[in-house]
């Protein structure tokens, strides 16, 4: 049996996921969806701002102190990923069969990896020093991945 079928069967018989799918309570699926939305808005928003700064916007702001802000970004990523996994668990087969799901996940994984890569480089940026071409390239990639993940997530619902 295929791994997806095994997981699908488990989800269909799991009490928590049954409740999540079938409850009409605003504290069931809508609450998980709310946490996902809140987390991704905060995470993507913060990342887009940091990326814009690295790409040359708001030069009046020093780069290095942004490294301290990444703790908040990681908390946002944790909430978004956890709630995302729960929503996937509630509806494994449909979500995995969506043709926009794999590219969305690719964007998300790349964006998270770029967040980690940028943090260490931002922390070691000296005041007054220019942002290196490598860091600018990473920031541009991060920007594309976050915005791409949002767009693919929105379009996936209608695809």
């Amino acid at each position: 049996m295929h791994i997806v079928d095994i997981l699908q069967q488990w989800s269909e018989n799991n009490a928590f996921f049954i409740w999540l799918r079938e409850s009409s309570s605003v504290f069931a699926y809508p609450m998980v969806f709310f946490i996902h939305t809140l987390g991704l808005i905060f995470t993507a928003g913060a990342s887009v701002l940091v990326d814009a700064r690295l790409l040359g916007a708001a030069r009046q702001l020093p780069v290095a102190p942004f490294a301290r802000y990444f703790a908040a970004i990681w908390i946002g990523i944790a909430f978004t990923v956890m709630s995302g996994v729960v929503m996937l668990g509630a509806d494994i087969q449909t979500k995995l069969q969506n043709r926009l799901f794999p590219p969305k996940m690719l964007c998300v994984v790349a964006a998270i990896a770029l967040t980690a890569a940028l943090r260490t480089r931002i922390a070691s940026t000296r005041p007054e020093a220019d942002v290196s071409p490598l860091v600018r390239a990473l920031a541009a990639a991060s920007l594309i991945c976050w915005l791409g993940a949002i767009a693919l997530g929105k379009f996936a619902v209608y695809f």
């Binding site: 605003v26 809508p30 809140l38 928003g45 009046q60 102190p65 703790a71 908040a72 949002i150 929105k154």
Partner: protein
């Protein structure tokens, strides 16, 4: 007019606007709270016009979405979550007016790198964060009550 891609495109634009807004407002509110104190507040507050631009992008795309499917928000019956969302946005506007009118904005401008802001500034920032989280919450309940979740 209503091809299948119009709604997801409007929602994507809506979220891009929200991301710009959340990026600036989130960082400013959290910095006032004491996160990433190495960031100077005065240049951070100079990003506010960009937050307004982001808000206008979100508002315009939101208005288009409302015109495409008015019944899901305006009813009848009126979607109570939509009313709450608009109320919270008005409260955010009042909170922002308070921030400027009471001179708190200028007071925060003068706070140096590594320094803490006043308790009143922290209260206004806290109210702002709570209300914005509320706006996201009501948006999700709005979708739920409209039967789209």
């Amino acid at each position: 007019m209503n091809s299948w891609w119009v709604v997801p495109l409007c929602k994507t634009i809506h979220y891009f606007g929200i991301a710009g807004l959340a990026g600036i407002v989130g960082l400013l509110d959290l910095r006032i709270f004491g996160v990433a104190k190495g960031l100077p507040l005065r240049p951070l507050q100079r990003l506010m016009p960009w937050a307004v631009v982001s808000f206008l992008i979100a508002a315009a795309s939101g208005y288009v979405l409302l015109r495409i499917a008015p019944a899901s928000a305006l009813g009848p019956p009126l979607n109570i979550a939509f009313a709450a969302k608009i109320l919270f946005l008005v409260l955010i506007g009042l909170n922002d007016i308070l921030y400027f009118a009471t001179g708190l904005k200028r007071q925060v401008d003068a706070v140096g790198v590594g320094e803490s802001t006043s308790a009143s500034a922290k209260i206004v920032a806290g109210v702002s964060i709570a209300l914005w989280i509320g706006v996201v919450y009501w948006s999700r309940v709005l979708t739920f009550l409209a039967g789209a979740i």
